[in-house]
Symmetry: C2
Subunit: 196 residues, 2 copies
């Protein structure tokens, strides 16, 4: 009995992992589908079996990255031992160390893609919003724990923290120095949160 | 007497203006030299008369943008009437309105270029540093005028302001909303500076 080619388990995941690695390093435009399939060791036809276009592929890459970025915050919300503000500071610090040289994929795509793809712009906006809500939930927990002034607005502070962290990680990439992130930590966690 | 082609006055400037417009909108990689020369209405040979490479052209574009970004701050330093903090807030606000939809060219290139061009990365670092120093000088003036606590560090606050503004303008581009910038203004000018 003759059978058609059977998709191998893990091919989609392998393509996404290679794509994430390339797109994180050089962006959307400079990433070639050809090099992604070659690095993943799969035939080009397989790529189009899983993804309709490079744009659809980028959406899957963005989703994978956003899930990775959100996971520690979801864990922090369930953690009843760690101080929420200490946990949040550690989260931003560890993410900065992990991504520093490449920057944040959401921020990189955030400067590159809005003029090129409306569907990618909307996906980025959705993930930034979800991520900001998670940070806001951690800050609300901090407020309940008495670590943050009752009059503070956790959602506004979350939006400010996320965007300031994005700016700081961009500068870290340009300067090849962790100093912009140190300034962010000192000013936001040592200043903005304490002043409230 | 036969004469070689004589460079026309303004061709270099026209190329830079078109390049700035394209690169600001879509970035370095997605900008074609061909479309820039076509839009500027000059023959392709002229481009290479003025610039050795697309990279050298991008450096000239970055320099032109950085000069544009610095000019109002230089004027503010000489302005003896306007309050330095009010002037700085107005500067960030006006720049955000002017560039909002496209983001900041330095920030856009800051996420796109460090992995692609070391010479462009260094140029961006140089301009970010000069720009941050200018903001620091305005904050020092604010401190002398008694608008900022004597114990505050104007240079650290300047670095934080510049990077946070960069993050906010990136989010404005993604969200197609001025709200991230409003949060920046309220938190930085209404909070961080006042708390010092």
């Amino acid at each position: 009995m003759k059978r058609g080619p059977k998709p191998r388990i893990g091919v989609r995941e392998r393509l996404i992992a290679r794509g994430l690695s390339r797109m994180h390093a050089v962006g959307f435009t400079a990433t070639g589908v050809q090099e992604v399939v070659a690095e993943a060791g799969v035939p080009k036809g397989s790529f189009y079996h899983y993804f309709d276009s490079k744009e659809a592929f980028a959406i899957a890459v963005i989703d994978a990255y956003a899930a990775e970025l959100a996971a520690p915050l979801q864990a922090l919300l369930l953690d009843e031992v760690t101080s929420p503000t200490d946990g949040l500071a550690a989260y931003f610090r560890e993410s900065a160390v992990q991504y520093g040289a490449l920057g944040c994929l959401l921020g990189n795509f955030g400067t590159e893609m809005p003029g090129q793809s409306e569907v990618i712009r909307q996906r980025l906006a959705m993930h930034f919003d979800a991520w900001t809500r998670l940070v806001g939930a951690v800050l609300r927990k901090a407020q309940t724990a008495g670590e943050l002034d009752a009059a503070a607005d956790p959602d506004a502070l979350a939006a400010f923290a996320v965007n300031s962290w994005e700016g700081a990680i961009m500068r870290t990439k340009v300067d090849r120095s962790m100093r912009p992130l140190e300034t962010f930590f000192a000013t936001f966690f040592g200043g903005v949160l304490r002043a409230r």
